[in-house]
Symmetry: C2
Subunit: 215 residues, 2 copies
């Protein structure tokens, strides 16, 4: 399974040069309805637990349309994730140089992805699917984690920057998973600023060089 693949996404490219014979906007409501239903179901039940029939039922459309628009179940999933969340927005919010509050800035930028309903649904679906099985584990890494790790490594520098950056990234994933996916209390009900205050010391400790040398 690869999110970047879309076997039969039959939506015509909206950015074609000639605007004259283009499709009228707002016309394609069922495709959007399918995507919305898919996002919600994948977020709640995971990839394996969601059937294309259930998606069609929830969207109020015919089951065959799901395959017509997206080819297969993976296509629906990929479209639902890809068209709602763009991890570039995280990188854009990060500072160019490491300052005093890098830990807080990292947490704010990354957790921001999870604070809006639609992107949160897509992220939850992504995490659920990535954790679900051996074969889908790399979904997380592929979906924007790699550039984030590199960026953090460049920010902190030093000898084992890559390893420490991965560790930081693992903490970001860990806290997001517990607050937004597992909804563990009292973390889930905290306000975002308070949650960041609780998470920041751990991230800061890892960012700084308080780690024993490799050997």
């Amino acid at each position: 399974m690869a999110v970047s693949k879309s076997p039969a996404d039959s939506t015509p490219a909206a950015g074609g040069g000639q605007p004259r014979t283009g499709r009228r906007p707002g016309e394609n409501s069922t495709r959007a309805a399918i995507l919305k239903a898919a996002r919600e179901l994948f977020a709640e039940l995971g990839f394996a637990g969601t059937s294309t029939r259930a998606i069609a039922r929830k969207a109020g459309v015919d089951p065959a349309l799901v395959h017509h628009f997206f080819g297969n179940k993976e296509g629906v999933f990929a479209a639902a994730v890809r068209e709602t969340v763009s991890t570039d927005t995280v990188l854009d919010k990060l500072p160019e140089t490491a300052g005093e509050n890098l830990a807080e800035e990292l947490l704010r930028a990354f957790l921001g992805l999870w604070e809006e309903r639609e992107t949160a649904e897509a992220m939850v679906a992504l995490y659920r699917t990535a954790v679900a099985a051996n074969s889908t584990t790399n979904l997380l890494h592929d979906a924007g984690m790699a550039p984030l790790i590199e960026r953090i490594a460049k920010l902190i520098g030093g000898r084992d920057a890559k390893a420490r950056a991965t560790m930081v990234c693992s903490q970001l994933i860990g806290v997001a998973l517990l607050r937004y996916v597992l909804r563990l209390e009292p973390l889930a009900s905290m306000s975002l600023p308070r949650f960041i205050r609780y998470s920041a010391p751990a991230v800061r400790a890892t960012l700084s060089g308080e780690i024993a040398p490799a050997r």
Copy 2:
């Protein structure tokens, strides 16, 4: 789904009083074979991705035997997890009072569960299933997390001990998930002592009172 439930576990109680007509030991090899296959498959493919037929196939037994011994799919899962991992061993390894190296001791005790093959399989299966869907989220909390949180809270004390203990616990879960379930590099390939060195600063920072007050 509840791990503590076992709908039709038809194994006769081995500790019955009269030894005369008891079953001979070592006789029940297929039940063990089913459990072993179940553990491996649940760990690799998750709960939803594993079929009872696949378990039977891998164990080399008839599919009907799976239901005969464990009633249903949930029964197989519950037995596979319950009979291989006991979270009490984690609590037993923890110190009575908080010392200088509490962070390391916590990590060593908890991660120890994941370093042996069979228990690791059961833990991975448990985590995969817990993360997979909304309905199974509480599996993690039920499977020994609650007493661990209370124990940590008692160890660190203070006003918001419960919240900080939960945060610590969330970090334990987070690092375990990334190293053993997602197998994110370079964390997965590190030696355990080195991994603990990398994880300890974050845990220690959360354990100590470096967190801003609630409001």
